[in-house]
Symmetry: C2
Subunit: 192 residues, 2 copies
DNA sequence: TGCATAAAGCTAAAGCGTTTAGGCAAACGG
DNA sequence: CCGTTTGCCTAAACGCTTTAGCTTTATGCA
């Protein structure tokens, strides 16, 4: 019985790759065990249960995404930063659809707070430094940006925009133009 | 063996209620059979399989949501219509979290096109008649609105904004103000 | 070096959800 | 009142999850 060298880390990374191949929903302890050529029960020494495995994959993806975002934003400001930041999210979703789906998985608030969720919020806030938004408008804007990135990725993977003109890339570019314009001219008072 | 009177319709409606109670992900043929006090195999005369059941619940929710939206938008225009429309989505998510999750389920494009997906797109487009958007900007705007509604609901149910100031309702109102301002002043050309 | 011990991976088994095949009986049409 | 449809059943196979307890491997300390 040669040891394969299972680790929580290795399981999570392999699970992330598996998610990209077959979809996050389809990632299962059994399938993962098959990949490592190991009996299913062996995984349970490294992972609490199936839910725990998925949660860890989600947190891994969030971390990886935050790393990329931090990298992209460094040394940029204003619209330049906004576009770079947004493109990280979009590119990640296209390059790693399974991990991106994992990142969108609903985590209970405490788990999310302990993970990279905070980094994402802080980076989004950092983007807004290039615009002139005081609280609480900055928070509103952070939430708007989160909703758009989150929502667009979800709709795009669902095939919502595919095969219909104008193409998704064009829309994405124009949405970023629009968001930039909006942030530069955020309405302080509702206009009835 | 008294007959319960199972129907695809009844199964789907009960499945939708079940989703609101225990979460869409947890809706299972077994659980549904338990509710009707019927053996699981009996469901398979009315539903092709478990996936088919979920798809039907999703389509049901989309239809219900489209009905409400159509109702809300009737006789309104401009920001008034935008706000009413957006609030339908948000209220539905809070009133029927399970159905809303079902509505966000990824369907294959042909299934979605055959269902109420088209109505949603058309209504969103109708909202934009109150603003001055020519193609392709109108399409970009439709996609932006879809992303925001979709994304906000997803983040809100994940508890993203709960228990942190400012409260979610305030943000929602201000986001709608912002979107209204953006639509009235949509940037025709990127501003570098 | 050699042994003790913790950890890795295994077998076995129970539980639950899905799905199909085939059977009985209730409802319904003529 | 009879025949047909069909609603619901039993039975069984299959796959994923999870726990319990065992064997073997690796590792570190004497």
């Amino acid at each position: 019985m040669a040891r394969v060298g299972l680790t929580t880390q290795r399981l999570v990374r392999a699970g992330a790759e598996l998610a990209d191949e077959i979809g996050f929903e389809q990632v299962t302890a059994s399938e993962l065990a098959r990949r490592f050529d190991v009996k299913v029960a062996s995984l349970y020494s490294h992972v609490k249960n199936s839910q725990d495995l998925k949660t860890r994959i989600s947190l891994f993806a969030l971390e990886e995404l935050a790393d990329r975002a931090a990298d992209a934003v460094a040394g940029r400001a204003g619209k330049d930063a906004l576009v770079a930041f947004a493109n990280v999210y979009r590119d990640y979703g296209r390059e790693h659809p399974g991990r991106a789906a994992a990142a969108r998985m609903r985590l209970d608030p405490e788990t999310a707070a302990a993970g990279a969720g905070v980094r994402h919020a802080q980076m989004t806030r950092a983007i807004l430094r290039g615009y002139d938004l005081a609280e609480p408008d900055a928070t509103h804007a952070v939430r708007l940006l989160g909703s758009v990135f989150h929502g667009y990725a979800g709709l795009e993977v669902a095939g919502g925009f595919s095969h219909s003109a104008p193409d998704s890339q064009e829309t994405w570019t124009r949405i970023l133009d629009a968001l930039d314009a909006l942030l530069r001219n955020w309405p302080t008072e509702p206009t009835p």
